[in-house]
């Protein structure tokens, strides 16, 4: 099992396109950091003008913690595409190259193969999130320093003391890993349905985009289905930057994401077990 996992990881990290994801994460992060370095104070000034009418806020508001939050807010929408690039290719890519049938001649059950593909996609996701944490958090702290973090919500101004911030980021990155694992399991399921990798990757992104729009639309028609969409719960990481932290809501989001992940994985195993492999 470990040997097969090693082989899967070798296949993932041998491909140059795997590193494109890491490059894209770094590029977007550095662009936002550059924008914040040059124009961040204007952005903050605009954002807090309502507060500034009544209160004077002194100190380094544009610190690494706030910049990281802005980066995550912008970037975690795009990470699903990068996860789908690998997970969507894992079964369909093999089928496309004609290696799936050969692979299944080995003494390994189909469910086990699906699980190995899932674990390798999960490990890739974890590495991508760790990379995001390094370039976003570490470099932002390096460039902008640390300090108390402000969280500007549409109807609330939240301030978190600097000693209380870092653990929230670790929790948020942990939550983001869970959310991206759900995407990986969705892409893997779609990958089992297809014989070429483009279809599952585009389908995953299509589903994510459509459901994200539904999750964000303030229309009563969709208010009943919103709590059941995984995209509604993918932004649960933001809850760690609220005060008080809505643990119940975060826990509920975690359960929904775990349920979707298990559901997608079970469907993949069920379907792949019965699939007629022709390539």
């Amino acid at each position: 099992m470990i040997q097969l996992l090693r082989i899967e990881l070798y296949k993932i990290f041998k491909r140059p396109r795997t590193y494109i994801s890491f490059g894209i994460v770094a590029a977007i992060t550095f662009v936002i950091q550059l924008a914040m370095l040059t124009d961040g104070k204007t952005f903050i000034g605009f954002a807090i003008q309502g507060i500034n009418e009544q209160f004077d806020i002194q100190g380094n508001m544009l610190n690494g913690y706030l910049v990281t939050y802005i980066i995550l807010q912008s970037l975690l929408i795009h990470i699903p595409l990068l996860v789908a690039l690998v997970a969507g290719d894992s079964l369909a890519g093999e089928a496309n190259m004609g290696t799936l049938r050969l692979l299944l001649t080995k003494p390994i059950t189909r469910p086990k193969l699906v699980l190995i593909k899932f674990v390798s996609s999960f490990l890739y996701t974890v590495l991508l999130i760790i990379w995001l944490a390094v370039v976003a958090l570490f470099f932002s702290i390096l460039l902008f320093g640390t300090g108390d973090m402000i969280n500007l919500k549409s109807e609330a101004f939240i301030m978190i003391l600097k000693d209380d911030v870092l653990w929230r980021y670790f929790a948020a990155f942990g939550f983001a890993t869970l959310a991206m694992t759900t995407i990986a399991s969705l892409a893997l399921m779609l990958s089992a349905f297809a014989d070429n990798s483009i279809g599952p990757i585009i389908s995953t992104m299509g589903i994510v985009v459509v459901l994200t729009i539904l999750s964000n639309l303030e229309i009563p028609l969709f208010s009943h289905i919103k709590p059941y969409l995984f995209t509604t719960h993918m932004i649960g990481w933001k809850g760690f930057f609220d005060e008080p932290i809505p643990y119940a809501a975060i826990g509920k989001s975690c359960m929904v994401l775990v349920a979707y992940t298990v559901g997608f994985l079970a469907t993949t195993i069920f379907y792949f077990n019965r699939k007629d492999i022709k390539t």
Binding site: K41, I44, G45, F46, A47, G50, I51, E53, Q54, F55, D56, I57, Q58, G59, N60, M61, L62, Y69, I70, Q73, G145, T146, G147, D148, I150, N151, L152, K153, S154, E155, A156, F157, I158, M159, I160, L161, K162, D164, S215, K226, T232, I235, G236, K238, G239, F241, D242, E243, P244, P246, A248, A249, S253
Partner: protein, 238 residues
């Protein structure tokens, strides 16, 4: 005979009113002189801001004050939040300066303590303070409560509790009640989380509301001749 009695009573009332007015003026001026005798101080403080739309933990830091209106909270790299300068957090800024008219509203009891209530109206019509009501502890010459109506910032009520620094008229604890306006940030800039209905903080009527700021003064260092440089924003600060 009757006419003389009425005349005497009238003269007595007039004299009594003017004597009270002088007493009230003296009381206010003595109290103001005591408050203004503190030219500067440095104090270790704990500050709690309780405004409907603000969720801020208790802030600890060092508060620098220099008469008449310079104030700075140093939080060793952290953020400090103050109401705008015209609603300063010091008593000296909520007591009118210059020529004033003082009206004696008589004695009252508050928290078991006998107090005298004065209404002070500044003669300067351009200033931010329209009128101030002051509850004075005559024994210690301390203002224990002020209610200041400002031209631009609504009404500011300040409750003061004294302990170790009575000779300087400096409080151990100050609670400020002030009017605050609504706060709303465009969705495009906001960092919202979809489960916000759980923590809905918006006042239901959509109008402005009251805010409270509580400052606990732990230790004062008084009249050390603080330099103006302390009150200038440091590099990188907003």
């Amino acid at each position: 005979m009757m006419k003389r009695l009425v005349l005497l009573a009238g003269i007595f009332c007039l004299l009594a009113t003017s004597v009270w007015a002088i007493e009230a003026n003296e009381l206010f001026n003595t109290m103001r002189t005591k408050v203004l005798s503190v030219k500067d101080y440095t104090a270790d403080v704990k500050m709690k801001i309780d405004v409907t739309y603000m969720r801020i933990p208790q802030l600890k830091g060092t508060l620098y004050f220099k008469s008449p209106d310079k104030m700075r909270l140093e939080r060793h790299g952290g953020l400090s939040i103050f109401p705008k300068k015209n609603i300063n957090l010091t008593l000296s800024n909520l007591i009118p300066t210059g020529q004033v008219a003082v009206l004696d509203l008589g004695p009252t009891t508050r928290n078991g303590k006998k107090l005298r209530v004065l209404k002070v109206i500044p003669e300067d019509e351009q200033g931010n303070i329209v009128l101030t009501k002051i509850w004075i502890d005559e024994t210690n010459l301390l203002a224990v409560r002020t209610e200041t109506t400002t031209r631009n910032d609504g009404t500011v009520i300040m409750d003061l509790e004294f302990g170790n620094y009575i000779p300087f008229g400096l409080p151990d604890k100050v609670t400020i009640f002030m009017d605050v306006k609504d706060y709303k940030l465009p969705k495009g800039v906001a960092m919202d989380y979809n489960d916000d209905h759980i923590n809905d903080t918006k006042p239901k009527d959509g109008k402005g509301t009251k805010g409270t700021i509580q400052i606990q003064y732990l230790k004062y260092t008084i009249n050390t001749g603080l330099k103006d440089d302390i009150f200038k924003g440091k590099k990188g600060e907003e």
